[in-house]
């Protein structure tokens, strides 16, 4: 007899929306480390990953560099942490990367601050056993090196992630990039407020 193929889901379970289930889930919250990699160049990265993805990851890291790098008003203070000759202005970073800064960032950087130079990038992908690529559990981002430890790659928030170029294990939550500088809020939602008298949803 032919097995009937159902047109509906095999299960419909909830884990977050049901209070008791959330409680049961609480014990399974141990975050697992995943394997990713740190590189200085696209060529190094291409030995492990698709070169096109490597270029995209490097470009993303370069763009984020200005956004997340630790900021100093004083060049000497920056060099104390990162080494003499290892600090730059956003304009110098953009020139080095060969990119035009978006107008908004150029404006933000006109105050003239200093930040460490980007020394490498974290690949936004992880390795699996077959050497292929899985989803992106970590965000591609710039890496830095401190003055007193030139072998260790660190994120913009000073989390060490790798000793030298190549694969490394990290917990994704420990390398979530944090923006440096003033945070503005409330930039989305104005249209909802304006139109809210006549609708209960902004979906449809």
């Amino acid at each position: 007899m032919k097995q009937k193929v159902l047109k509906r889901s095999k299960k419909a379970a909830l884990v977050l929306m049901v209070p008791t289930a959330t409680f049961l889930m609480a014990g399974c919250g141990q975050e697992e480390a995943v394997q990713t990699a740190a590189f200085e160049t696209v060529d190094q990265c291409a030995a492990y990953f698709n070169p096109e993805q490597c270029r995209a990851d490097l470009n993303q890291a370069l763009t984020m560099h200005t956004q997340v790098a630790p900021k100093y008003t004083d060049k000497a203070a920056c060099e104390t942490d990162f080494g003499v000759g290892q600090c730059e202005t956003p304009a110098q970073a953009a020139a080095a990367a060969g990119t035009e800064q978006p107008a908004q960032q150029a404006q933000a950087s006109s105050g003239g601050f200093f930040m460490p130079m980007m020394m490498g990038f974290l690949a936004g992908q992880m390795l699996n056993r077959s050497g292929g690529q899985l989803k992106q559990p970590v965000q591609a981002q710039p890496l830095y090196k401190s003055r007193d430890d030139r072998s260790t790659f660190r994120t913009a928030t000073n989390t060490p992630v790798a000793r030298g170029v190549g694969p490394t294990y990290i917990k994704p939550s420990s390398v979530q990039p944090k923006a440096a500088g003033t945070v503005n809020r409330g930039g989305f939602g104005a249209q909802a407020a304006k139109r809210s008298s006549s609708t209960k949803s902004f979906g449809g």
Binding site: A12, M17, A108, Q139, P172, P177, R185, F188, Q191
Partner: protein, 383 residues
């Protein structure tokens, strides 16, 4: 396809509330309605709804290349010029998309006709994917629905697979506006499925999203690598953070290219390319000052839940729904009346996850225009 009266499950309201479905009744009006269900046979589901849904979806995707290479079309869809590259780039980069819903007119005898695509912020997701699924299991168990009844509803399974398989950022943030419990409910459901698929899903109110040095950030100032937003693209591109969309290294769900397909202007473009297709209704962009007559429906390019829709039936009766979306251009679509079951006009919302049809949700209204207050009814498949 028929409508069958059915006893309600005792205590379903408290069950609904216990699983976060607080909007089952809204402003004292019934929203979730299980006093009846709709019954289809398998041929109706597979040939008249499932197959056309996937075909229409492919036809819609097939328009994206045409639009991003044609300034006239981008202007017809009122996409701000500042975002043309963003939209095109999101398409070329194959930025992943989660889901969409097609609204169809269907009375049991084909072909179903496409009313519109809800491809940016479709809702009624929890009602479809979870609550009507549980309703069926319960009613089979209680003997109120025949043993062997099925449902066209693989929505939750397919969403879970999509969250697991698509190249998505992790953690993945989910945002909806602060004052809508319906939108929050939809987003909580998606977060729940994402969590089951192994993602770290985090909620943030849309109004609380932050910006620092051009990067979108969460409440603690951490960069947001991926954001599902239950908020229309056409609003976002004209708000204060519009420039952050361009500067932030954020993966958006739905992606930028969905701005094109959630636009009612897609209907005349579909008609231009596939004129006479059995699942399409004749549609045109409205010319300035043009009047519209009997047998036509007028819809704004941007509108949700039937708002600002006007129609004139072939006999000349005028029906219109007020709303907050009058500030855009309009399209006209040939009037196709929704079928009437008892006193109610019935519309079918047909879901797409990835490129697969994933089930249906049924909405009923006392008027010919389906809107956000329209009742949701469950359905079954029985051969």
């Amino acid at each position: 396809m028929k409508k069958v009266a059915c006893d309600e499950r005792p205590g379903w309201r408290s069950y609904a509330e216990s699983v976060g479905f607080e909007f089952h009744t809204f402003d004292g009006e019934v929203y979730w309605d299980e006093t009846a269900y709709y019954q289809f046979n398998l041929r109706q589901i597979e040939q008249d709804l499932e197959e056309p849904t996937e075909e229409l979806h492919q036809m819609a995707l097939g328009l994206v290349d045409d639009i991003i290479r044609d300034e006239e079309k981008l202007q017809q869809l009122a996409i701000p010029e500042k975002f043309w590259d963003f939209v095109a780039e999101s398409w070329r980069a194959k930025a992943p998309s989660l889901y969409g819903r097609l609204d169809l007119v269907y009375d049991g005898n084909g072909p179903a006709k496409l009313l519109e695509l809800n491809y940016d912020t479709p809702t009624s997701l929890f009602e479809t994917g979870f609550f009507q699924w549980v309703w069926l299991e319960d009613q089979i168990m209680r003997g109120k629905v025949p043993q062997g009844a099925d449902q066209f509803n693989s929505l939750q399974d397919q969403l879970e697979a999509a969250f697991a398989e698509l190249p998505l950022a992790n953690p993945l943030y989910f945002a909806s506006v602060a004052n809508s419990i319906e939108d929050k409910g939809t987003v909580m459901y998606l977060m729940d499925i994402a969590k089951q698929a192994g993602l770290d899903s985090r909620f943030i109110e849309l109004e609380q999203l932050g910006e620092a040095s051009g990067q979108l950030v969460d409440l603690d100032g951490y960069a947001i690598g991926g954001l599902f937003k239950l908020y229309p693209w056409e609003f976002m591109v004209q708000e204060d953070f519009a420039s952050v969309i361009l500067s932030s290294q954020t993966q958006w769900l739905e992606p930028g290219w969905k701005m094109l397909l959630s636009n009612k202007g897609i209907l005349p473009l579909l008609w231009q390319k596939h004129q006479g297709h059995p699942n399409l209704l004749e549609s045109h962009f409205e010319q300035p000052g043009q009047s519209f007559g009997a047998g036509w429906v007028r819809k704004p390019l941007f509108s949700r839940e039937g708002a600002n829709v006007e129609l004139v039936t072939p006999s000349g009766e005028k029906i219109s729904e007020p709303g907050p979306y009058a500030d855009s251009a309009f399209i006209r679509q040939k009037f196709q009346p929704l079928p009437k079951f008892g006193d109610s006009y019935t519309m079918i919302g047909s879901w797409v996850v990835g490129n697969s049809a994933a089930g249906i949700g049924i909405r009923e209204d006392n008027s010919l225009i389906t809107k956000d207050s329209s009742r949701f009814l469950p359905h079954i498949i029985l051969d």
